[in-house]
Amino acid sequence: MEAAVLVIISPLLTAFFLGISRLYVKKIFFPLVTGSAIIYLYLLILVITNSYPAKVYSIGDWGMLGINLMVDPFSSLFLLIIAILFLPFIIFSMKYTKFIKHDYFIFAYLMIAGISGMVLTADLFNLYVFLEVSSLSSCALSLQKKTDRGIEGTFKYLIMSTLGSFFILLATILTYYLTGTLNMAEIPLAFEDIPFKIKSTIMAFFVFGYALKIGLIPLHAWLPDAYEDSPIPYNVLSSGLVMKSALYALIRILYIMFGIDFLDESGMLTIVVFWGVITFLIAHCLAFQQSNLNRLLAYSSIAQIAYIMIGLFVGTEAGLIAGSFHILNHAIMKGALFLVVGIFNYSLTAVEIEDIKGLGYKFPIISFTFVVASLAIVGLPPFNGFMSKWLIVEAALEADFVYAAFFILVGTFLSLTYYLKVIVTLYTKTEEELLIEEPGLSLKLPTIFLGSLCIVFGIVPSLPLSLMNKIPKFLLDNGEYIRILLGG
């Protein structure tokens, strides 16, 4: 499994070489970026196809003494999301970015490296380090436009996410203090005879720290601000990957380190499901008020993450599958939506809902993609969002969270109110003569690709679900994970 470590190393190397290319050899910029993106895609596919049965890669051959990487279905789900989003992101950004391209791509590659590191590592402190890599470079990306709003949003993002990081670090240190190890397989074994109260307090710190990065209400306030004036292709990765990777880390820690029994016993499952319900209800109310498309989509991201949280925290096998499926679907749908907004922004610098009036007739295919993706994210059949929502509701009902299941449907209705508002505006004719810069194929192609995935995964959900069906085996029963990690 050399490929596992290369998945982390190769974007880092690309970023470093880009740093040199920026100063001395500007010509190799384009082949470097695209070439390494393609190589990266190949590496990812290599790792994903070999992800079952789970494999361990020991860095420096230290075994239990050092840091290990572990590829299992849950982490390969995230690698799959990177594989789906990254190449479209690169192609789109090539044309979209009007500011300094080198820096932008350096940060993008650093961020991807950080995220894949978070996803693959099986070491608690290493997780923290890569979390910092990804969140710092993510801040840098949201700063790229250097406008007033962009800087202000980034500052809020930085403050909130650093606050979260400190709590994660505090919990990590305390875990080391209690167990004397940082390996994710040894911690649960050592955790068994730690008193209940101590464990639940440490868990509270972890949950709080990661919830700040995920953006559950009322910890969400930085999120729309950070989205508002940042480069739009970045928002695709931000909502599809950065938020999700924090969620990934949280799930990893809670399910592997603490175990499902402890979560149930301490009431964490109940709390998170309740929290999720509150979150998406409020987020939908707020999203309706927005006039800026980026903010609207940001609030919608918060709501969708809450659905994912509910799915993942009902604590059953079906719930984990449903939540994981929704992670993938949300990345695709939100990616398509943001890319469409990106095209509008590129062509006529539109960000307000008012600005996109009548564009439905000027960009028929792009607008159709928007309609498809927004219906998918609302959760209407026959698109992919419906399938994962169906599974989430089914799982919630199965686990006796009837109120959560009911409110998910209410939330579906609420989310339709604002997406429909945008769609109706899109198809309202105007007399105004619009100055349009023609978006090239490199902007349209990624958008249409993501939009068509919405339909494909809606009609053939068994395609991605075949990967996800193996996830619960590694999360619900942490024994399996521990056995493989210790055995490797």
């Binding site: 009322p218 009431g267 964490m268 199965e398 429909l420």
Partner: protein
């Protein structure tokens, strides 16, 4: 197995290709006629199973009720597509195809999942049909979409309850979550209280949209009701109330399309009563009424559409153009009128008397007579304006041939059914032991019609009068205002002060710690 719904949806996809007008005609005709033929040769008892995730789906399952409904849907689809092919744009034609296709799939679906998916697809396609149709229908489409999605989510919740209670998705009578199914159906078939979308949409949307929508939207609701929640006797009274409400509202309308849409509420009332009786006779009466209603109501909508097309408006005065300038339309309208009024030897009579015969409670029988009376009174107003009032209208443009052709099809069918009511029974093997031409039935069928003529002549000035708009109260709009106000308040809290956000975060931390310290099972 080739299903008609699948054919229509394929047609919609074919229309995505870059094609010229001629090929458009050919494709449309082939698809619609093909669907009709396919439906005709479906054999009751056939079904198809499909494994989808963990569910076992039955995307097609034929029995006599669904075949009857499917036949009339396919037939009306042929007529409606021919009617509107020259008027609507290509994107709208695609949407119409998707809409008809999903309606047909709903009719032949054998499990709740397929039913829900295509039910929702109907909502989506029809909403976009309304939204894309013209510039004045954006808000209407928004309203329609939200209302129907609320209904279908209620259906979805009902399905979930049913699924978790019984563990199967088969399309049988409902055991759990009945209220939610009822809400869903009520929205679809415009039950009183849930009807607000209907007059709004049918009066604002372009007439061809109204024609297409009026064929399928409410009828699918009726069909699903017959399938899932038949035989709840109390609902018969609810249907009666709904119909009476429809009569009162319809009498007060100044717009023909609104009158027609309220009259749908009345006709649906018949079907609700028939279904709620629960006996085989009642249900087949309701289904036959569905067929007849589609025929005459579509013809009426089409006729009004021709009037709108030729004169530009749908005021009652404009109807006057029919008598002098539009002969085909006039004949069709007359036949449809006699059908809807329940006059013997016309098609409405057959199903109305079937339902009446299946009833045993005197109150409902009286109510049914009252409904017939009200209906014919309503349409006497219509007829009065169309044929008896002098009009000085002029034809702005000629109706297209395709419009008249579509209307003609349905009219011929109506006359056929009226003269030979056993046609429908033979077509689908739904035999009801009933002699339509027995004197008793003919008399009781004639009575309300004659009474209504008398009353119309006596109280003409009250009936034919321009009423002011009733006090318009819409609960749903009030709720929406509340939602927006709440959101506004919430959004005001986000005033950009970082201190505040940090304070929220810290408070959350403390709450989280407390919840975990003092076991939260008790609190939540």
């Amino acid at each position: 197995m080739l299903t008609p719904g699948f054919l229509y949806i394929t047609g919609a996809l074919l229309l995505l290709l870059p094609i010229n007008n001629k090929i458009k005609y050919i494709i449309s005709f082939l698809i619609t006629a093909g669907a009709l033929i396919v439906t005709f040769y479906l054999i009751p008892g056939n079904s198809l199973q499909l494994d989808f995730l963990k569910l076992t789906l039955i995307p097609i399952k034929v029995d006599s009720i669904s075949k009857l409904t499917g036949l009339i849907f396919a037939f009306a689809g042929l007529a409606a597509v021919i009617y509107s092919i020259n008027i609507c744009s290509l994107p709208n034609l695609r949407l119409i195809f998707v809409f008809i296709g999903s309606a047909l799939t709903v009719v032949f679906s054998g499990d709740l999942f397929t039913l829900y998916v295509f039910w929702e697809l109907m909502t989506i396609s029809s909403s976009f049909l309304i939204i894309m149709a013209s510039d004045f229908t954006k808000k209407t489409g928004y309203y329609y979409f939200l209302m129907h999605v609320a209904g279908s989510l209620s259906l979805l919740w009902g399905i979930f309850l049913q699924y978790s209670a019984t563990g199967s998705l088969s399309l049988n009578a409902i055991e759990a979550g009945t209220p939610f199914f009822l809400i869903a159906i009520a929205v679809k078939l415009a039950f009183v209280g849930f009807h607000t979308w209907m007059p709004l949409v049918y009066s604002k949307a372009p007439f061809y949209v109204a024609v297409v929508l009026s064929i399928y939207t409410t009828k699918v609701g009726v069909y699903v009701m017959a399938r899932l929640v038949s035989g709840i006797n109390i609902l018969a009274y609810a249907g009666l109330i709904s119909a009476l409400f429809g009569i009162v509202m319809a009498l007060r309308q100044n717009q023909v399309l609104k009158l027609l849409s309220y009259s749908i509420i009345i006709q649906v009332g018949y079907m609700i009563i028939g279904i709620s009786i629960g006996t085989a006779a009642g249900i087949s009466g309701a289904m036959f009424h569905l067929v007849n209603h589609i025929l005459y109501k579509t013809v009426l909508f089409m006729a009004v559409g021709v009037v709108i097309y030729t004169t530009g408006k749908d005021d009652f005065e404009n109807l006057g153009i029919m008598r002098s300038k539009l002969p085909v339309t006039s004949i069709a309208t007359l036949v449809a009128f006699l059908g809807i009024a329940g006059v013997p030897f016309f098609n409405g009579y057959m199903s109305k008397s079937l339902i009446k015969d299946a009833l045993h409670e005197p109150l409902l029988k009286w109510g049914l007579d009252l409904m017939s009376f009200g209906t014919s009174l309503l349409f006497l107003k219509f007829i009065y304006y169309a044929f008896f009032k002098n009009s000085t209208m002029n034809l702005a443009k000629k109706p297209t041939i395709s419009m008249q052709l579509g209307m003609g099809f349905l009219t011929v069918m109506m006359i056929l059914i009226g003269i030979h009511p056993y046609l429908l029974e033979n077509l689908t093997n739904m035999h009801v032991d009933f002699n339509y031409f027995e004197m008793k039935h003919i008399l009781s069928g004639m009575q309300p019609f004659l009474w209504s003529i008398l009353i119309f002549i006596l109280f003409k000035k009250y009936v034919v009068k321009k009423y002011d708009r009733l006090l318009y109260y819409d609960m749903y709009r009030k709720m929406a205002t509340l939602f927006v106000a709440t959101g506004y308040q919430l959004s005001n809290y986000h005033d950009g002060k970082l201190n505040k956000y940090l304070l929220w975060a810290t408070t959350t931390l403390i709450i989280l710690l407390f919840l975990l310290m003092f076991n939260s099972h008790l609190l939540l």
